[in-house]
Symmetry: C2
Subunit: 199 residues, 2 copies
């Protein structure tokens, strides 16, 4: 923490300067991105304005300037996270060309670690926990889920979609908790069963 900013020196590109260097959209983004790192490492409980500011190498004052308090910051950070996760999910699912490929995609999402880096796992649960307790954050998780489901519904009927979605969620938890998770083969088998006749 000691010698923070680049400092007086730095400023990579004071160059362009053509028009407003003032309202730097970079700042806000960097804060949001860094906030996710801090959240992944210290959890909501350990995330403070100061810690994020230090990690993002921005002055503390920027925090209250760019965000209306802690909840606003958390909302922005988790919003971005959910956005990216949903996008990745969509990409994966829309790439599938038929039912079998869709099933394979679901299995891949679980077994490969696309969705399962420890970081993402932690962030996901941190968000879920927040949403479970505070309804305000549920609009965020709901939007995320809705989007994921829409992607699944390109291949499965709505009912099957909900079931598969839940199953994926559950397996993901078990992975996050290091509980000896089900074998890949068993997961494949289970997905097959859940989606039997489900176009």
């Amino acid at each position: 923490m000691s010698a923070a900013h680049p400092p007086p020196a730095g400023r990579p590109d004071p160059a362009p300067s053509s028009r407003r260097r003032r309202h730097d959209p970079d700042r806000r983004d960097r804060i949001v991105a860094t906030c996710l790192d801090v959240l992944a490492e210290h959890g909501v409980a350990g995330t403070s304005h100061r810690r994020v500011a230090a990690a993002a190498d921005v002055p503390l004052g920027s925090m209250t300037y760019h965000f209306d308090g802690m909840d606003d910051l958390l909302g922005a950070a988790f919003g971005r996270f959910a956005e990216e996760a949903a996008a990745a999910f969509e990409r994966r699912m829309t790439a599938a060309r038929d039912l079998d490929e869709a099933r394979a995609a679901v299995v891949a999402l679980i077994t490969e670690d696309v969705f399962a880096t420890r970081r993402d796992l932690v962030l996901t649960h941190e968000l879920y926990t927040l949403a479970a307790r505070e309804p305000a954050f549920r609009t965020l998780t709901n939007a995320w889920m809705r989007r994921s489901r829409r992607a699944l519904e390109r291949h499965f009927d709505p009912t099957t979609t909900r079931l598969v979605d839940a199953f994926v969620e559950g397996i993901t938890i078990h992975r996050a908790l290091d509980t000896e998770p089900a074998d890949d083969a068993d997961v494949r088998e289970a997905v097959a069963r859940l989606t039997a006749g489900a176009a």
Copy 2:
């Protein structure tokens, strides 16, 4: 919160007094129980020694006396929670007499709110989140899961057990997040499929 406790009046039995009233095992228990309430309401992030002490109506000093810091307190509280949850789960599952009743029990666990009061949902996720980030708490969740699974394995083979367990977990999340969860009938159907030929 205002007028909580039974209060100054109470002390049901200062009576016995025959031997040591000093080491009051009640104190510690009440702190642990109250801590769970605080956790459910404010989350790990909002749980402090002071808040718990106030809610449990014990002096602040008791906190550091009975527990070696915050983590110890959290461990004790979540330990009790997991213990109770596992016991309830076991009771439910061991009551089933055959495969069909076992399936019904699993469905009941999901559809009825035995396991799904908002409070328990919140506490569960709060614990999972902690465990996802801090390995120390994973021994706790692992023990819980292992116990739950052993109960399931009275009726299903190990592989099926893991799959069903994951499915239950996933549906539970969806309920916690108020995402429109799957219909009861669909859940029943899904469990049937997952457990087809799984004695």
